[in-house]
Symmetry: C2
Subunit: 193 residues, 2 copies
DNA sequence: GCTAAAGGAAACAGATCGGTTTACTTAACT
DNA sequence: AGTTAAGTAAACCGATCTGTTTCCTTTAGC
């Protein structure tokens, strides 16, 4: 296996284990065993477990972003419809056998120090999602795009956690329903100007 | 210290540490050290760490429920206003120095086995919150109380996680704003009958 | 074909994990 | 006053944790 592929493979395995079992509960021994890689190789690519955690979070950030945006764009064509399609993509995500909630929410539950780099990555991820929703709100012609985007992001967050705890994807539909109302109200207000 | 007081004291310390640092990261040594209790005493009251975790979750369940309902009832008098006051109580909660998100969300991030007793406790907690909101919706005269309650519970969840990650309590206001719209719409639909 | 980097397996280190046991002390009840 | 239950501090257990090191094999480039 090529060198860069090996590093990515370790990260991929680590993401899966961190998502399913958490960060403190996942030891490096298990990661190297499941990645079929020696401990020396693992520590050759990552200086510490914390660095591997950070690399996993950053990788998951970009992979999730790409997949999610792609999903939304395949599910709807106009910005207005895409704002709603966010929750269809969410439902698909929640229905996956390997859905264990949001990795960035889970990591924040294990590292509470606000100066921790893990929390930085989590905050950045959520801000990235928010910026994406803001851009759709602007293109859709919302009255107050920032406000609407914050509301939709909060709905998204609520749907994720509710699905994680209940074990059911129906929360996506609940959130979608509210989103439709908020979007319609925002567009109507704009039209009334 | 009386015997029952000692057990409760251990649980109280455990709850604080589990909330701040997570479950796997908090060792029994640290709990006994901060509770100023010997290891023998701790294992005399709890057969294992898992049993202590469960006891902590159950205790937090009832304490949180009592405090939260009391807060809501002090903040508003009518069921309709109390449904909105949920988010004022939430803002107060988020502003606390010792706010580390919802203990039941955090525990689910560390124990993914759906048959785990920790997840049972979490599901039960969220259902208890939902039933409370349903009862308020019924008393408020909502058109579809179950539906509205599910929506408000999802908003509540979203506000909690958003506050936890962002470190700001403003998400409570965002959720409150949406809640007002949903409640008004539900009551208006009912009146139109 | 030789050199050098990289990987694998496994031993090792020191700390910490959950949990048990021992020896001694405290406090309460008849 | 003497018994008993419950406490403490600390040693101890085996397992596991993150991280390092050793020794040997593979592989790739010149």
């Amino acid at each position: 296996m090529p060198i860069l592929g090996r590093r990515d493979h370790i990260i991929e395995v680590a993401i899966r284990l961190f998502c399913e079992h958490g960060f403190h509960a996942t030891g490096v021994d298990r990661i190297m065993r499941e990645a079929k890689v020696s401990k020396k190789t693992l520590y050759n690519h990552f200086r510490s477990k914390d660095e591997l955690i950070l690399a996993a979070l950053q990788q998951h950030d970009s992979v999730f972003r790409n997949n999610f945006v792609k999903d939304v764009e395949h599910l709807a064509n106009t910005p207005k419809d895409q704002l709603i399609a966010i929750f269809d993509a969410a439902e698909k995500w929640f229905s996956d056998q390997n859905f264990f909630g949001c990795m960035f929410v889970n990591v924040v539950g294990e590292y509470s120090d606000p100066t921790s780099p893990m929390r930085d990555v989590s905050r950045n991820f959520k801000q990235m999602i928010l910026r994406y929703i803001v851009s759709l709100c602007v293109k859709a012609g919302a009255k107050d795009p920032e406000k609407l985007a914050n509301e939709l992001a909060l709905l998204f967050e609520g749907a994720i956690v509710t699905a994680q705890i209940s074990g059911s994807p129906v929360s996506a539909g609940t959130a979608k329903n509210i989103a439709k109302q908020l979007l319609a109200a925002s567009l109507a207000e704009k039209a009334r100007e």
